[in-house]
């Protein structure tokens, strides 16, 4: 592993100042380290400087005015998953967290770090292979290589990787805001706007600038989220990244008309994918399996599957339908 400097500042401002003033070519914030340290061992990340941000005090879950939640970026995944308010008001977020990694990793991993974890595309994590994300201009090895588990939506010729976070998918459905401390002060980034589609700059996972530090996640009050769930499909029963996942929330009027619906997909794109077309199709109409299927089809109309992952289109469709039907209490 390449030698690096390690700093432990007192607060967020200090962390941002330390990182931006360091002059280090490759500086990284260190949260739980469950992804970054692996990547350093593999030589994928070679930072000169690590700034520890796990002990800046952003470690509380607080109720906000109006019934939302503010989650400190350094809260551990396990702690947030079992938070009673989160489990009542946003069950899909708790379920998403618990579907990720293993208990040991969830005990260490932070919420901010979870959102900023890197893709598990094998071409990205092996420095002997071509990857535009790791080494811009080297080419995408996955495009003509192994890509069963890659993107079907929003990908580019430069990159077909998917974002691995389960939490980010649920937060995208909620419409959470990411609070960022940067060189120019604090700003709010609404999900899914944090993560980028790859375009011709896949080396940039997010819209964050160098030095930007996530300090908290804000979950707005959302009545629909009380009836929500997260469904993750994977190649084994636990400790595996999503092949496809769906976070969905559904709120219906007494006559069965859909008042609010939220749908986000994981495992299908470079960013968590908010299924806005499907949501639009559904709002204001009855909650039936037929309409769920039509909405899923409308969303997946945009899909551009690759040679080895065409199965993700029917898989995503099936999941959208079955999760919504379950929430609506109708037969899929």
């Amino acid at each position: 592993m390449k030698p690096f400097r390690f700093e432990r500042p007192e607060n967020a401002e200090g962390a941002v100042a330390t990182l931006t003033a360091s002059g280090a070519e490759h500086a990284r914030y260190l949260g739980g380290g469950t992804n970054l340290v692996d990547l350093m061992r593999l030589g994928v990340e070679t930072p000169d400087l690590l700034v520890d941000v796990a002990r800046l005090g952003h470690d509380a879950v607080r109720e906000t005015d109006g019934g939302g939640l503010r989650v400190g970026a350094a809260v551990r995944n396990s702690d947030l998953a079992r938070d009673p308010l989160l489990r009542t008001r946003y069950p899909m977020v708790s379920q998403a967290l618990l579907s990720g990694a293993s208990p040991q990793l969830r005990n260490l991993a932070t919420i901010g770090g979870n959102l900023l974890q890197r893709t598990r595309c094998a071409y990205f994590t092996d420095t002997s292979l071509d990857c535009n994300k790791r080494d811009p201009g080297s080419g995408c090895g996955a495009l003509d290589g192994e890509h069963r588990n890659h993107a079907i939506l929003g990908h580019s010729a430069a990159c077909i990787a998917t974002h691995p976070s389960d939490l980010a998918v649920a937060l995208t459905a909620v419409g959470a805001e990411v609070l960022v401390e940067g060189a120019a002060g604090e700003r709010h980034i609404p999900m899914p706007g944090l993560h980028r589609l790859p375009g011709d700059a896949p080396e940039r996972d997010t819209v964050l600038d160098p030095g930007d530090l996530i300090v908290a996640i804000q979950l707005p009050p959302l009545e629909a989220a009380r009836r929500s769930s997260y469904r993750k499909v994977r190649d084994r029963a636990s400790f595996s990244f999503a092949v496809v996942s769906v976070a969905a929330a559904l709120q219906c009027d007494e006559d069965g008309t859909i008042r609010d619906v939220r749908i986000a997909l994981g495992g299908v794109a470079h960013a968590p994918w908010r299924a806005e077309r499907a949501e639009e199709e559904l709002r204001g109409g009855p909650a039936t399996a037929e309409r769920f299927a039509a909405a899923a089809a409308a969303e997946l109309d945009q899909a551009r599957p690759l040679e080895q992952n065409a199965f993700k289109v029917p898989l995503a469709r099936n999941l959208i339908v079955t999760v919504l039907a379950d929430l609506a209490g109708v037969a899929a």
Partner: protein, 687 residues
Amino acid sequence: MTPVSAATIDGLRRIEGRDKVTGAARYAYEQQIEGVATAVAVTSTIAKGRIHGFDAGETLAHPRVLEVLTYENAPRVAEDADSEPELAVLQTSAVAYHGQVVALVIAETLEAAREGARLLAVEYREQTPDVELSDSHPGLYKPDKVNAGFPTDEGTGDPDRALEKADLVVDAVYSTPNDHNQPMEPHATVATWSDDGHLTLYDSTQGAPMAANSVSKILGVDSGRVRIISHHVGGGFGSKGTPRPNVILAALAAQALGRPVKLALTRQQLFTMVGYRTPTIQRVRLGANADGTLTALVHEAFEQSSTIKEFAEQTTTCSRVMYASPNRRTAHRLVRLDVPTPSWKRAPGEAPGMFALESAIDELAVAAGMDPIALRIANEPDVEPETGRRFSSRNLVACLREGARQFGWDERDPTPGVRREGRFLVGSGVAASTYPARRQPSSATARANDDGTYLVRIGAADIGTGARTALTRIAATALDVDPSRVVVEIGDSALPFAMLAGGSMGTASWGSAVVKACRALVEQGGGEVEVDTKEEVAADADLAKHGFGAQFAQVRVDIDSGETRVDRMLGVFAVGKVIEPRLARSQLIGGMVMGLGMALMEEAILDPRTGATVNHDFAGYHVPVNADVTDVEATWIEEEDAELNPMGSKGIGEIGITGAPAAIANAVFHATGRRVRDLPIRLDRLL
């Protein structure tokens, strides 16, 4: 034959269990050696070609890096090392596969060695590799023989004609992918040369004495000057059966530096440097009369090896043992590709072979409208089909019947694809298991101590199986004393020469020597004796000796996602006398769980252009986790067989994996009506 209930299984607890869970048990890499340097292997990033040059400038400029060894400066190995090309490391500029060792960086610390490895630039002259197995590859050939010395092809009668005339025909192609051993403890070695030219290796091996012999040959050192110590081994599954490159690398590095060197392979390197199970493509053709009686059995396997070594897995030999058929042909064809060299993985041959054969038998049962257990019983042979030899014991039918009873098979509706539970389709399947029961000569000493205890010494290996505990029981029984009065020393090539832990032969081979030594000691009335079993083994009756079993699986398949989960597995085995019930159950279950992994998830993927193993870590190469293994039970029927060895035992290390994938695949068919013939049964194959 009495069935054994899982609830009553008892026996000794693992002798070294406490040491292992408290960390007191030292594995190879954990040995504390004064002045030891740390090595890290650098592997090729091309699959075919030559090394054009190294730029080690930055590596050697690292203040804590000591040396970079390559083919340009590494000590030479013995000339006759050509017989083990995988062990002739750092001797040539040629690259035969992606992930082959090309350099070794040695440093004061692991961190410095890894950084030095990262900084080492290797330039190649690359050629286009050929890494894809197919059943029409122009390079396919018939090897002289297949592993364990079996004939490449054999058969009887005229199976083609019999197939033409058969009432029922199954003709299907099955495939299995590259499966990896991946023991928890990686391959690791600490090497020390003494001033007078003696080499001591702390190594993770399945057989220290045989490994020491191999190493002495490769290095051209007198065999009395190589000692391998291997007290604890964190799994091997065949991949530590013979020395792997890490052993020679560590020895060469210690020689070059004149100080001790330690080396552990990384998880990624285990995917290319220590062997794996060849992928197979298998065509099985069964012909049968309308009543299910087999008239033809054809089993042909296509498989691969590397360009530097012929490794011909004995994939179809199970079809020479399992069922009676007047017409039979079994065959193997091999192609040499620019891929890592395959090697032994738990039940080599039987594991992939029984997936294909037992899937085809299930297909025949469906075609015949017969219960698959009844079909198997109808085709039970009187003698071993290939050789006509009598079976020393064969209780497959008893296992099938007892398993059916315990599993509740009789209540099963055979109609596929009709049992719905919520969003799942549910089904159950059965398959047979088999594995040879053999033994090899070994030697042992036994000594009576003045305090009433006994010391038994043998160069055996406990790779996590519980061998140390089982041998303690065997010795205590032969001495007619309580096991607490017996100490068994194993895991050292300085101990009496013994068979390795492989081929399910360990306990049978070692136990024979231990019993002989202990009986001789009793007869002698004390003191110390040394024995070997060459004569007994040479005089073994020429019979067909195999363990058998029946495996049952119940699965659920999600209709939305195609995800398959195994709700229940039951294995009932006939494996002679079971020596340590608690440990035996654990080992059989371990094999079945590995079979579950083979059935549903294990699959190493090579990039067809570069030959790189793409998913070379545990995030990409899935093995079963606890959540996948909900209810697995293994039991056995008591089997008396006096023609095996003094214990009356058959090996149990491998039989558990055989048949398990077919039982699961057959259950998936029963659940869904879809026959998946390509492993693993991924969700996209059922969607």
